[in-house]
């Protein structure tokens, strides 16, 4: 079914917020999430399409409320929930 991420053409998302010279990551945790995702993809724990799928299946209200890397965190948590704790 049509998912919350499929926003092309929709209205109501408000103004563009353009930050001049923004850094690649706005907090250390964002960079950690980025790196974790890279490591898990490289290891084959999941593939990029499964990752996108997991992001898309975040409940719509949570998806829209979450920042970009928070969505990544939610997706990675759900994709790795089954893993043993070591």
């Amino acid at each position: 079914m049509s998912r919350v991420n499929d926003v092309g053409g929709q209205t109501g998302f408000g103004e563009l917020r353009i930050e001049a010279d923004e850094p690649p990551f706005h907090a250390d945790w964002e960079a950690r999430v980025y790196a974790l995702n890279g490591a898990l993809l490289r290891r084959g724990v999941y593939n990029l399409d499964q990752f996108r799928d997991a992001v898309e299946r975040i409940p719509p209200q949570d998806y829209l409320a979450a920042s970009y890397y928070e969505r990544w965190l939610l997706a990675i948590e759900s994709l790795t929930a089954e893993l043993p704790d070591g």
């Binding site: 079914m1 092309g8 053409g9 593939n47 996108r52 799928d53 898309e56």
Partner: protein, 104 residues
């Protein structure tokens, strides 16, 4: 449909299917006619790869160009979208008879 089914310049129609699974045909482009502008080669189908298939089937991906006027009824720009072959079917001109029928 044999792969690759389309060539640059062909007019194609996107499917209207609204699948339950991950797909890469945006909703705004469903059921619309566009023109193939490039053959981007064969790629594993995202829909299947997202399901965890270890060796997903691959299909040709085409860059398809749509007029904004067709997509939204307004706009003087164009939008291109990269679409797997199974998202597309030929868009025959209404002036042509359906395949298989006599021209007479």
């Amino acid at each position: 449909m044999a792969d690759p089914a389309f060539r640059t310049g062909d007019r194609v129609r996107t499917r209207t299917v609204d699948p339950a699974h991950h797909t890469r045909l945006p909703r705004y482009a469903r059921g619309h006619v566009g023109e193939v502008v490039a053959d981007l080669g064969r790629w594993p189908i995202a829909d299947e790869s997202a399901g965890g298939a270890p060796d997903p089937a691959a299909e040709t991906v085409y860059q398809v160009r749509f007029a904004a006027r067709d997509l939204w009824g307004a706009g003087d720009h164009h939008v291109t979208i990269d679409l797997w072959q199974s998202y597309l079917s030929p868009a025959l001109s209404p002036a042509l008879p359906p395949e298989g029928e006599d021209a007479t």
